[in-house]
Symmetry: C2
Subunit: 347 residues, 2 copies
């Protein structure tokens, strides 16, 4: 059997609740051709991110949903196979909004970011030095504004966003408390990432442990989970605490009404009585003003050993749906990537 | 029977749900004596405000609850009866944190604000030129930051805070939409306060009417109610909308759990997907920086006829509990004051 020219994964149907493999379909298609003035790309690594769950639904949101039958949205590190675009040559490594596919072609107007493989591993462009990293930076530094001695709490602390939130908090002299699922991840958060504490949200006395780890309360809570963790954080928030709301992975899969009791009045009451700030955000809102400072801060943090990261790589585009479903269930350990192909120099 | 020297109203018991007359007790006590270096005051008007409901409960909040048996918290316009304090003389009119009583004495260190009866009616020091007015100013101008052409929505729009929120919004060129209870109040909000629209929250199609009154969505929602009104506002909020959270009168009387469905996830989802800002506040957080500008803006607005206000005056300290309960039920029309005594010049 001959190797298919090109592969892609499309949204086969919209999920009801947690996505299943049936919601995705792998398709064999013709390799795209080089457009005039454009580039032809071959994907090396595809990034899988929680926001993609939102694009699978047709609820109104800040971004359009993926249409049923369309290729799943996503960003990849790619190698330029052929180029008719000035400044791009075969062999260059670029970040591109390819979607979940092995090959993609872009015209002259699509912004592509070149990566220099000598400066950092190319996969970091999808993680600590890419969108997840900037999400952590913007939410923490622009909205959270931690001060020395304050306490910063973040969930999914072993993941690409949470791990950087805590490490940036420590860089400004704040205390970092991570929440993660399971002993292995908690150990990693304390031993490798050097957070001041890590709490396992699966522990039966999780709320008590969190309180014990935050003896001076919480000044910044970087929200990327929602649900039960928010309920444990809420009573610990200090007056004037800031809550950048970056994600709500605990509720992405829910369908229909949420059963009672109604927890909104208690949250509103805390917002009022503690003068809290809750601020939702999407990273690109802050890119023009803060992206350069982010790259500078995090690059030098990595170089100096103050910022560490971890990747969870799955092999083969066909495995992307399985890896994505596992990530939504918290089974990943680090930034989730799918290895789609190798650079031509190593082939 | 001789006239009692002095009267006060104490918290007789904590309310479960809406306060009742049984939660208050009128007491006859000796008139306080002039402390060394201090002042002896006689109350003329007592201010009744929604925040006092919070002080009747012993839930943790930004301020200590009133102890059972203690005088209810509150601020009054008073006449100085006798003074041993520099700068204060008998006959002066001052604002003072007297609580619900006819007479009060203060030592040298308690801050008192002198009012000039020639500049504005003295009751405005408890309303449009006092705490409620500054609450409206700070929440709208410092947190809400309305821009010309934007839409500002406020509930309890005929009340002392809401009426000023809308009038200040119009002063900066924004569109003001008020929510009020009943046709009379709505008429007042449009005809007298000149809001662009007013919606009766008791109308069965309230949410639809609100949507029709906000064809370009809502950019600033000044939250002083919560509950069903928040649910109608939430889907209309625009991306980057600001929500100063000033009060939650709809939920102050609730006891125990709120029945389901759980409305928190939907609110969190909107915060995230629309990059909303929710910010709780207490007016005095902003006083040092903004009080002078507030007095200047609102005084000149009143003088120029751009800012109007309305008072709802009940006669006699003994009637304060009834007036307070009515205010929590929305039966007042304008700033709620209790007339406790007359200036000596008019006696």
């Amino acid at each position: 059997m001959s190797q298919p020219q090109s592969e892609q994964i499309v949204l086969a149907s919209r999920p009801h609740g947690p996505p299943t493999l049936e919601n995705f379909r792998l398709e064999q298609v013709d390799k795209p051709t080089l457009p005039a003035g454009g580039v032809l790309l071959r994907a090396l690594y595809l990034s899988l991110d929680p926001y993609m769950r939102g694009r699978m639904s047709d609820q109104k949101s800040y971004a359009k949903p993926v249409a049923v039958g369309d290729v799943m949205t996503g960003e990849s590190v790619c190698e330029v196979v052929a180029s008719d675009r000035k400044g791009y040559a075969a062999g260059d490594i670029v970040l591109a909004p390819t979607g979940w596919r092995t090959h993609a072609a872009f015209g002259a107007s699509i912004p592509l970011r070149k990566l220099d493989p000598r400066l950092a591993p190319i996969t970091t462009g999808l993680g600590v030095l890419g969108m997840p990293g900037f999400t952590a930076y913007a939410g923490l530094m622009v909205i959270g504004k931690p001060k020395p001695g304050e306490t910063v709490v973040v969930a999914a602390a072993s993941g690409p966003v949470g791990s950087l939130v805590g490490q940036l908090a420590m860089l400004v002299g704040a205390r970092a408390v991570g929440i993660a699922g399971g002993a292995d991840k908690c150990r990693y958060v304390v031993d490798e990432l050097r957070f001041d504490a890590a709490i396992d949200h699966r522990a039966p006395d999780f709320a008590k442990q969190l309180e014990a780890a935050c003896p001076k309360g919480i000044d910044v809570y970087f929200e990327n989970v929602g649900g039960a963790i928010w309920q444990a954080v809420l009573p610990l928030l200090n007056t004037f605490a800031r809550v950048p709301v970056c994600g709500l992975i605990a509720q992405y899969n829910a369908t229909g009404d949420f059963p009672g009791p109604n927890l909104l009045p208690a949250t509103m009451r805390q917002i009022l009585s503690k003068s809290l700030t809750l601020r939702g955000f999407i990273n690109y809102e802050f890119a023009a003003e803060h992206y350069a400072a982010f790259l500078e801060t995090v690059s030098s943090g990595i170089a100096g050993g103050n910022i560490r990261y971890r990747e969870d790589v799955t092999d083969g585009l066909a495995q992307a749906p399985t890896a994505f479903i596992g990530m939504l269930e918290g089974r990943n350990f680090g930034k989730v990537l799918v290895h789609v192909g190798d650079p031509s120099s190593s082939q």
